[in-house]
Structure formats: C-alpha cells, structure tokens
C-alpha cells in the first residue's frame, strides 16, 4: 500500500533507474525532495546532475528543458504548484507543443511537466488552481490526471516514456489520503485509456483526479445506478470508453473542479453532443467550479463540486 505521492516518488525512482536520460528538475526538488516530497531520495540516489534544484523561474525551467531535450535528455519538470505554472505557459504553447512540428517531426521533445493541482488544501490563494484546460487546449501537449496511487505511477511512467510532451496533474488533495496497491518495479498505464471506476446502468458520471471520489460518493448515495468513468487521460481522450458508457446509460454528468466556462468538462459535453446525440436521454449536466477566482479557504467547500451538487445533477438528469 502506498499513498499517491509515494507512488509518484516510486515512479520517478523506477523511470530514472530504467533510463539514464531521465532527469528531474524544479524548485526545491533536490535536497528538500520537493515541498510535497514527491522527489525525495532522488538526489541522493541519482546525484545533483539528475535531480536538479533550479533557480526560481518556471519559464526558465521549461525553457531549459526544451534545450535539454535537444541534447538528448528526457526532462521531468516539477512546477511547485498549479498556479505557479502559469509563467511556463509561454514556453509550453510556443515551443514545447511546437518544436517537434517545427523540425518536420525529426526531433522528439519527450518532456514531462508534473505538478500538484486542485483545491481544498486550506492554503492561501493561488495554491488551489485546476489549470488543465490551458494545457489540454494547447496543440502538441498531452495531459494525464491520475486519481489512484497505481495510476499516478503508471501514468507518470507513460508520460516520461512518451515521445511527446505530457503534462501530469497530480491531485494534491489526495496526495496522502489516497492509498492503494501499487505494482512494484516498472508499471505503465497507457495514455488514452479511461477506467470504469464503478459500474452502473442509468447514468454516467465522468470525472478525473480528486473528483472521482466525489463522483463515487454521490453514486453511493444516488437512487439511480451510476457508472463512474475516470478519464485518467484528458488528451488523448478515451472517446471509445466515453461513448460506450453513455451509449449504455443514455445520461451523462461531467464533474470537474476547474472553472466551468471553456473548461475541460465542456469538451466532454461537446464530444457527447456531437457523437452521442441519439443516445442522450437528457441534458449533459456539468458540475464544476465557477467562473471566479478559487475562493478563500473558509468558503472553498461551497465552490468545489460536492457529492450534494453531483446528486442534484443526477436528480436533474434522471428526472428529465
């Protein structure tokens, strides 16, 4: 049994052991082992050239990672927190997602960016963002979000081995509370395969990250038979699994903690509106964060999707 953050740490150890071109870089990832200790032990084991404490500059981290990739490395960049990743968006959009294309496909940019993300951690502002939409919308970038320790290790391994750049968002709320069996040694969960977290027949709740548990809690209390689909990978999206589940249930609720407007939940709804219109027996309801800054933590519970909000959405969809 490992926690989610221990699984990340295990994954990093395993992949660095396996491939000497993998290097980890970021603020405080070395001697401290990361503010969440996700990189603990790497510096002792692999040295300070392969687990690098960088200057405090996120665009510099990702920008130098582009150069390191050109030199043949597979950099794994840690952004210390979700909202502190924004300075790297310029490099991500202009270069990380485009450089392979720019070389006519000749060069690979196997860069992994990982970061803790999401809310409810009782912290001052800007420690709770869910920025996945910025990443998913960016061409050339893949995005994975685990909800279990085993997937945290397996998706990270897939990201590191992928020839394309991948952003892995780790739900920090459940870093230490999600516990589970994690396969020893090499363990890869391929990108683009969703996981049916719970079987059901009446309605599909689509979720990822910390929202999977919220969906499951709602499912537990719902009158209907609820299927919970954990997307695991947002791009590539497992459209097959999504359409299959909604094809079966005919109803869909999408749960995500990011702000609603143009968030990833909209993409899921749009795929259904285009490809499952005949299956849908009711509206596709989104249960999401709102179009406001992530609130002060004494009221964050009101902002975040809760089992109650998911249940209300389920009622609405079932009663339609």
């Amino acid at each position: 049994m490992k926690t989610l953050v221990e699984a990340v740490n295990d994954g990093l150890h395993t992949e660095m052991e396996r491939d000497p071109s993998v290097m980890v870089m970021g603020e405080d990832v070395g001697i401290l082992g990361g503010v969440f200790r996700a990189t603990a032990g790497l510096r002792e084991r692999f040295g300070s050239d392969r687990c690098v404490d960088t200057p405090l500059a996120e665009a510099g981290i990702l920008g130098t990672a582009v150069g390191l990739a050109m030199a043949g490395f597979r950099p794994v960049c840690e952004m210390q927190y979700d909202a502190f990743s924004y300075p790297c968006l310029d490099q991500l959009i202009c270069h990380v997602g485009r450089y392979r294309w720019r070389t006519g496909g000749a060069m690979e940019f196997p860069i992994t960016v990982r970061m803790p993300y999401g809310g409810r951690v009782r912290a001052p502002e800007l420690h709770d963002d869910s920025p996945e939409a910025y990443y998913v919308h960016t061409p050339g970038i893949k995005v994975a979000i685990p909800s279990t320790p085993a997937d945290a290790k397996g998706l990270l391994a897939a990201a590191i081995r992928d020839a394309d750049p991948v952003v892995v968002l780790e739900p920090k709320l459940i870093y230490r509370t999600a516990r589970g069996e994690v396969p020893e040694g090499e363990h890869v969960v391929p990108l683009g395969s969703a996981r049916v977290a719970r079987q059901g027949t009446d309605v599909t709740v689509v979720a990822y990250g910390a929202m999977v548990a919220v969906a499951e809690a709602a499912a537990e209390r719902a009158d209907a038979s609820v299927e919970v689909l954990d997307l695991r990978s947002l791009k590539p999206l497992d459209e097959g699994a999504l359409l299959e589940s909604v094809g079966k249930t005919g109803r869909a609720v999408v749960v995500a903690e990011a702000p609603r407007v143009a968030g990833f939940a909209a993409e899921v709804a749009a795929v259904l509106a285009e490809k499952a219109i005949l299956d849908l027996r009711g509206p596709v309801v989104r249960v999401t964060g709102y179009d406001v800054p992530y609130p002060y933590w004494t009221i964050e519970d009101a902002y975040l999707p809760s089992p109650e909000r998911v249940l209300a959405a389920l009622d609405k969809v079932m009663a339609f």
Binding site: V35, T54, L56, A57, P124, E125, H127, E308, R309
Partner: protein
Amino acid sequence: MRASMRVEPSPAMPELRRVIGDGEGHPDGEVTGLDDAGLLALHRSMVLLRTYDERSLTYHRQGRIGTYAIFWGTEAIQAGSVHALDEVDWVFPSYRESAIGLLRGMAPATILAWWRGHPAGWWDPRERRVASICVPIATHVPHAAGLAWGLRLRGERGCAVCYFGDGATSEGAFHEGANFAAVMDAPLVLLCNNNQWAISTPLAAQTRAAALADKAAGYGMPGVRVDGGDVLAVYDATRQAVERARAGEGPTLIEAVTYRMAPHATADDPSLYIDEARVEEERRSECVARYEGYLRRRGLLTDELAEAARADALAAMREGIAAAEALPAPDPALVFDTAYADPPAQLVAERAELLRLLSEDGR
C-alpha cells in the same frame, strides 16, 4: 554544490552599509530624519512586528491560523523602510511582509483573517496604500512599477516600495518590472530581502552574481547593499532612495542582506537542508536586540519603554486573534460576489442555483 567557476572576478562589493555598531570596529552612527521620538517609534514598530510574528507561530501551532510565512529577523527591513516613507507612499508586500500593514494602522485581525482563509482578510489597498499580499513570487514588481509610474504621471509626490526575496530576482517578472520602472522613471524602491534562501535553495544555486545589487547596473539604476539586520542602515538607504524617487530620478535597488533565521513557513522542515548551527549563530545578532542595544547605548530606551512596547503589542495581538476568531463564518455567496463588477448572467444564475442547493442542504 557545484563550485563557482567565475574567472573574471566581479568588482569587489563594498562592505555592507551599517549604522548600528557592534563595538568591534563599527562605531554606532546616526541617520538623518529620525529624532528621538522617531527612533523610539521605529522601535515600537519592530516590536509590533516581532510580536505579531511570534504570536502567529503560536497561533499556528494551536491550530488557530493556517500555514504561516514566518518573518522573524526581518523586522529591521520592514520597519526600517516603512519609517522612511510618508503616508502617501505605497507599500507592495510579498507573503513575507504579510503584516506590514500593521505599520500603517491595519488591525492585526485583518491579517490574521488572511492567514485564516477568511474573506475579512481582504482589504482595499487604497485605504492605507498597502497593496494586497502577493503570493506568486515577483509578480508584484511590475504592479509596483506601474503604480509608481502612474503616480509620476499624475504629478503626485508619492512613491512605492516593493518587497521581494533573493529567489524572486530569478523570475522574469522581477526583470521586466525593474526595467519598466527604470525606463518610466518610476519613483520606486525595489527592496530585496536577501535572506540567502528560497525555501531550500541557497543563493549560490539561485545566481552567480557576486551580489544581487549588481543587477542594478543592468537597469541603469543605483544598487545599494545594506546590512538587513541594521534597521537604521535600511532606514537610511530607503530614505535616500525615496529622495531620488521624489526628485524624479527613478528607481533604486536596495539589497538588504540577512539570513533566514526561521523555517520558510510553518509547513517547512529546514533541518533537511540548513545548518542549524548557522541559524543559531545568526539569531544571536538578530535585529530587534541589536537596535535595542543601540537605543540603550544612546540612553533612549528604558526598561519601561521596552516593556510597554511589548505589552502594547501583545495586547493588540490578543485583541486581534479574538476579533479574528469572533468573525462569523463567511457567507458562501462571497464565492461569487467580488470577482466581477458586472458579472456574466451565467454566473449569476449559477450563484442562485448553488445558494438554493446549499440552503436546501441546510448547510
């Protein structure tokens, strides 16, 4: 740590500017602009900050505030600079100067509420010309530059001071803000609290500059390096920078050199990366005692005055935490109510729906 491989040595740094003596070579000095009352007021400010910080750590341990960024040992930097300002001048704090508003009359409860994640920790920056606490490193440097530039455009005499750390100087935002300030002749004081650590990252892994003040030349502004534990040295450097700023001569970079004498924040465990003996040694020359020694040597500070400063500060904190804890649980509607002056209709509808749901749930 990788060895420094500098070949051409950078110009020898001048010794840190000091005013307060140590009896070993450095005699006590004096500064322009502070009479006896001013010197004592400065002392009270330092004690207030020190008390805020020490009580906050206790409150955190008691579970009464959340994560907290300790600033023990930087009172000289904060108080020394603020006392060199006028009321019209603006202050741009980072999380490390969260309580700097106290020096402008802000209630401790407000700042404690901030650290309690309560919306009463919000404030209107214009009230005391104290900008909001900046969490993302260095991103407030351009704000301060823009505000100061704006003051110049308006023909007002105010200036601004922006606080940030050594780590912050690695960020692009610092660079762009400093450059804008210089180009726009913004009346700005860039005050770097060089505590030689950014969480676990030592200065040597942050920069190869011999001194952070060396960065000033790259912006065509003066760079000044002072002993950050010497409140009068900080005061004096700020006073001079403010004078330049008001005279239309643009920004100044002040590097206040100190050492981080406490964990980065309550969640941090520095034993993983810092030599605790060094910290202990630094704490022995901490700024409040140094200044008290100076004031006593000058015959200004008596036991009664020192005691009164402490007692008043403690009383303010006791009152502050009580007031913060007495705040009613915030209205969840606040999730929606301050983001937009004129919110999109969709958001208004979502607000209504959520509030209906919450009231149904009886929460």
